[in-house]
């Protein structure tokens, strides 16, 4: 795919929200995640000539770039001394921001991103956000029974995705 064939604005409109959610879940920092996604599209635009659409979708390609960008951001963050009130150095950084923890959340978030929007929605709302099926049903208009069946199939799909992405992120997102 050449630059002329890679419609960066269309790709941004279609995938940036998922990419920001993915990066924010991994990094626990939405502003940093948004910066990362800008970097993802910059790298994508620069390397559009090297992308072979026969080897995967634009979404897959962008997430592959995002894994690298997120890991780089996590490592850079650990090298920066956090700002503290009295100018002293904090005793210990939050272990959830350690690169290994970021990579683990990235693995989970990537599997989540691979689900269909409907499957992802029920997992996010019910399990991650702790809402009742009835509550989600009222908001979406989808029957509770349907949401529960979706949850079943979503979790089965996640099982498959988690097995798939295990090998992809073992090296910190570099393939």
């Amino acid at each position: 795919m050449g630059r002329s064939a890679f419609d960066v604005r269309a790709a941004y409109a279609e995938h940036s929200a998922s990419l920001v959610a993915f990066a924010a879940s991994a990094l626990r920092d939405r502003t940093l995640a948004e910066d990362c996604v800008q970097e993802v599209f910059l790298r994508a635009w620069r390397s559009a000539d090297r992308h072979d659409p026969d080897r995967g979708s634009v979404r897959t390609w962008l997430f592959a770039i995002a894994r690298n960008v997120v890991v780089d951001a996590a490592r850079a963050r650990t090298r920066r001394a956090p700002v503290v009130a009295d100018g002293s150095t904090p005793e210990q950084a939050d272990p959830r921001d350690a690169p290994a923890a970021v990579v683990e959340r990235m693995r989970l978030a990537q599997a989540l991103a691979a689900l269909s929007p409907e499957h992802r929605q029920v997992v996010v709302q019910v399990h991650l956000n702790g809402r009742d099926y009835a509550d989600v049903s009222q908001e979406t208009g989808v029957a509770v029974a349907t949401l529960r069946t979706r949850m079943f199939y979503a979790l089965k799909a996640l099982r498959t995705e988690l097995s798939t992405v295990d090998g992809e992120v073992d090296d910190g997102g570099r393939r």
Binding site: A17, A24, Q38, L112, R159
Partner: protein, 237 residues
């Protein structure tokens, strides 16, 4: 197994069964051995997702600013997948959040772990004492809190995880706070949530992290900032 059975298993896995449905689940498990395996598999996937239940790591697909428009603050009209009121957080209040996280004041005055005897089922003083990690013993731990928040904390090691006993004050009324146990790899496992009352909050939470693996307990405000932090002594025995 039909879709009704699958729906039942999904609801069981996520903990949303009523009494009638529990009876139906029991019947399903009794007549179909494969159903139990399916249920275990579903629960396994949900457990694996635990690190994403950290409020700061919440999955949120908001409309994203169009390229080049971030600096102007204009946004696209693309609809989010779904958005909850409690998910709507300010993008970041840089200095305020950073400072809040860092202005953690040492309180509690308990130097190191002090393990006390627990109460047994008859509310009699038990003889369970020992070093950190002793099953069933109450381990009082030191806390660090942000300004205006008070906390005392104990943890109890169990075979199924770590119980956290918290006495909290200063939590803002109506706000939802999350309690997480962070293991040694940095994985935060949700122990539960509490609503601030403006007064004292005494609560007991459980997390599926063994005490031997647990490194920290944190109480996080809705923005994900730790308002209470507890560094757990390593289990050496």
């Amino acid at each position: 197994m039909d879709d009704a059975d699958r729906a039942l298993l999904a609801a069981a896995a996520t903990g949303h069964l009523d009494d009638d449905e529990r009876s139906r689940l029991d019947a399903l498990l009794a007549r179909d051995p494969a159903a139990a395996a399916e249920l275990a598999d579903l629960r396994g996937v949900l457990a694996e997702l635990e690190p994403l239940r950290d409020p700061a790591a919440a999955w949120r697909e908001d409309a994203s600013p169009a390229l080049g428009e971030r600096s102007t603050g204009t946004t696209t009209s693309a609809a989010p997948l779904s958005q909850l009121p409690r998910q709507r957080r300010p993008a970041r209040r840089p200095a305020a959040l950073a400072l809040a996280a860092c202005v953690l004041l040492a309180v509690g005055g308990v130097g190191g772990a002090l393990v006390r005897g627990a109460l047994d089922e008859r509310a009699q003083p038990a003889v369970v004492v020992g070093p950190p990690g002793t099953l069933g013993a109450v381990e009082q731990v030191s806390t660090r809190t942000s300004d205006g928040v008070g906390a005392t904390a104990s943890v109890v090691a169990h075979t199924w995880g770590t119980e956290t006993v918290l006495d909290l004050t200063g939590l803002v009324q109506g706000r939802t706070y999350s309690v997480v146990v962070v293991d040694q790899s940095g994985r935060a496992v949700a122990a539960g949530t509490v609503l601030g009352t403006g007064g004292a909050v005494d609560c007991t939470m459980n997390a599926a992290v063994l005490r031997t693996e647990a490194a920290q307990v944190q109480v996080l405000d809705p923005e994900g900032t730790a308002v209470v932090s507890v560094d757990l002594p390593p289990v050496t025995a």
